[in-house]
């Protein structure tokens, strides 16, 4: 009797464990948790958040966790757009770093005009934001047309703006390096009197809008359908080219917002050094989130977790006093490990190891 009960219990826990491991978000979450754990191990006070005051005496939240959430803003916002592009076009946009420079350049030009050190803003910030987003969306539309109308591989199509984007950003600023008035800095730092960094708030809004949009429109269904089988999709009345185009424009919007946050952090933009190499971090974030880079199904939550994972990794390496120049190497090593763990070969190998457990639990899946 008691043995029976034991069996039942172990079966149930095995089932729960299996469900947990099979969940699409298991590896991304587990890895993020693992990284945080290492950080706590290195620095027991890692997770601590305290209320401090900045130089002008305003209350601000201080802590590693806050820093990670703050600095990951651009990465998270871009990963959202990249996830959609990846799903629909079965490829990636490698121009996001360069187009952030364009959007940032446009924003600076709107705010500063032709002055280098203006004492007040030349235009309302909302206008700058809108024009920046418009610039980003124009870049997205350019990429989108190349991919959807001319059937150019996304990586090749976006190589054009990847190459030219930073120079275009510099041209947008008229070749100047202006610094905007301090009030523009609220959006990349703190709004005086409010202790949570503004980029975190912006990220929350963008994520919320994204999930709302996925809920109240068919963006998710259409994107996945087109990414999985565009022939079938077009016979079901969809316009695959239009949907691919749309995802690139959405990514462009994300680029505009990311450019706004990034420009606001130091109230200036150096188009040649702004967000260096972020395109690869964004693509990695999508991959770490358990998304196939060859398109089709996607997992937005996974991508967002992936973005935070990469930011955690970056700041961990900085905390460990790894030489800034060596950070990419460490990042690469860790990411290779992660990608290999998620690869089908390793998964099926682990799956085989797991069959013993499976056979005791029984597979509920039926085939018709």
């Amino acid at each position: 009797m008691s043995r029976n009960n034991n069996n039942l219990n172990s079966n149930r826990s095995a089932l729960v464990l299996k469900e947990l491991i099979r969940h699409r978000l298991f590896i991304p979450i587990a890895f993020l948790a693992f990284l945080l754990l290492i950080n706590v191990f290195i620095n027991p006070g890692f997770l601590g958040v305290s209320l401090g005051r900045d130089s002008s005496g305003n209350p601000v939240l201080i802590g590693n966790l806050i820093n990670i959430l703050n600095n990951a803003a651009e990465l998270v916002i871009l990963a959202i757009g990249m996830t959609l592009v990846t799903a629909s076009s079965r490829g990636q946009d490698i121009s996001v770093g360069a187009t952030v420079a364009i959007a940032g350049g446009v924003i600076m030009r709107v705010l500063c005009g032709n002055e280098t050190q203006p004492t007040e803003l030349h235009a309302p910030i909302i206008v700058a934001l809108l024009l920046g987003c418009l610039a980003g969306m124009a870049c997205g539309a350019f990429n989108g047309i190349l991919v959807s109308k001319f059937n150019i591989q996304p990586m090749v199509a976006t190589l054009i703006l990847f190459t030219a984007g930073r120079s275009i950003g510099s041209m947008a600023m008229g070749g100047l390096k202006p610094k905007a008035a301090a009030e523009f800095g609220y959006y990349g730092n703190f709004i005086p009197g409010f202790p949570i960094p503004t980029p975190i708030l912006i990220t929350i809004v963008v994520v919320a809008v994204t999930f709302l949009a996925l809920k109240i429109t068919n963006l998710s269904l259409y994107t996945r359908a087109v990414g999985i089988n565009d022939k079938s999709s077009s016979l079901n009345g969809l316009n695959p080219a239009l949907i691919k185009f749309l995802t690139f424009v959405i990514l462009g919007l994300c680029v505009g917002i990311a450019g706004f946050v990034q420009a606001s952090r130091v109230q200036t933009v150096n188009p040649y050094t702004i967000v260096p190499g972020i395109e690869m971090d964004v693509i990695l974030a999508v991959a770490l989130g358990g998304n196939s880079l060859s398109g089709g199904k996607f997992n937005m939550t996974g991508s967002i977790i992936g973005a935070y994972t990469i930011q955690t990794l970056t700041s961990m390496l900085t905390t460990l006093n790894v030489n800034t120049n060596a950070v990419p190497v460490f990042k690469a090593v860790i990411i290779i490990m992660l990608v290999v763990i998620q690869s089908p070969i390793v998964k099926s190998f682990l799956g085989n190891k797991f069959t013993v457990l499976k056979s005791t639990v029984g597979d509920g899946k039926e085939r018709g």
Binding site: Y222, K297, G368
Partner: protein
Amino acid sequence: MQDTVLTMRGIYKSFPGVRALQNVDFTLCEGEIHALMGENGAGKSTLIKVLTGVYSKNAGEICIKGINKPHIKSPQEAQKLGISTVYQEITLCPNLTVAENLFIGRTNNLFVNWKKRNSRAECILQGLGIPAKPAQQLSSCSIAVQQMVAIARAVDMDCKVLILDEPTSSLDDQEVAKLFALMRELKSRGVGIVFVTHFLEQVYEVCDKITVLRNGELVGEYQIKDLPRVELVAKMMGKELGDLAEIHNKTQSNTNDSKEVIIETEGLSSTSGIKPFDFTAYKGEVTGFAGLLGSGRSECVRAIFGADKVTNGTLRIKGEHVNITTPIKAMKKGIGYLSEDRKRDGIIGDLSVRENIILALQVMRGFFKPFTKAQAQAFADEYISLLGIKTASADTPISSLSGGNQQKVILARWLLTHPNYLILDEPTRGIDIGTKVEIQKLVLKLASEGMSITFISSEIEEMLRTCSRLIVMRDLYVVGELKDEDMTQDKIMYTIAGGETQNVQKQ
């Protein structure tokens, strides 16, 4: 008598679960054009792949010009033995010149005398009458010329057996004529040509002999003059030809006069190459398009649905003139289309059964009006039980279902849109008998409820059971329309083989 260049005896080949070839013989003589005929899945391509070393056979023997070669292990070995294949898709390099394509990969010399090579290429091209220059880039030639270059390459490699696998499907009439001239030229040089095609006319134009395969078995080898078209059709379909004298008079009272017209086409044609056709579908009627593979059955309905770009002609729905350019327009006019190739054009593999069911209706409803999960689930549940779809849950990805159940899901997708006119293109291909019968019954039930349905199938019996009127097609032309007592297997085969085209009748 001519010398035999190739003999294949007792070839067996099986794949897991399928016997692709059973005891097939094939003989090819020098200077002969030999048609290899058969419907889908008859084993034509398997036989060719065995011959060219792509597949290894399970049993049987192959003799080439007297040499007994029990095994041809690779296409390279086959080429060395003088067996060359030219496929429908060009397998040359379009970015190289004609001369480079003729000689690439054939020598191990490090140095190349381009001048000599180009003049040699010039010789070959002129000798075969191919209108191309050696230094021309291959991609700048028409498809027909590219194919000819591929053939020239094969011929220059001293091939004894030349296999042409559906070479004419992407050529227009003039190009086909040029290709045939080249084939006759090669024939006179003593090359044995195996010609795979599904165009009956072309077979009777150039071939000397026909070998017919069906379901992986040899039906027989015939001299072209001994096998009238209608018998060829009968042999390909596996039907014994009954007494043709029984054919009834064509005059029939038109019972459709009283019925409401749903779809009416006049001279409709599309970019797929389909010749202009007239077609009418009435409310509550099941119509069918009959014809061999590639005869244009699917192309007709694809033109109606807007899946191919319509180039000419008019389409009226319930008497109203409509201009359908995209599937969504057709869907909004109440047309549903279950496509021929389920895997490629039907299912969306990684999406769940539920998402696959609601997809078409959802697209019609619009981007900003997604169904709630509960609504979608209700639709899915309704049709899963209505059609008896066997699936673990509505969340299961459709790709993990069996073929028959996948087809039911696609059927559910279109039924959910409540179309006035439903096109079912090969809905029963590759699915089990039980499901086939269920689908046939469902078609009749839907028609009795007033839906107009077009049913296309490669199986004649199935069409006879379900359809009340048949449009017969051959080589992209509509060649006849059969109904009532005219609808017999014999009459259908007779029409496929020899019926007049719609266009001719008009003139």
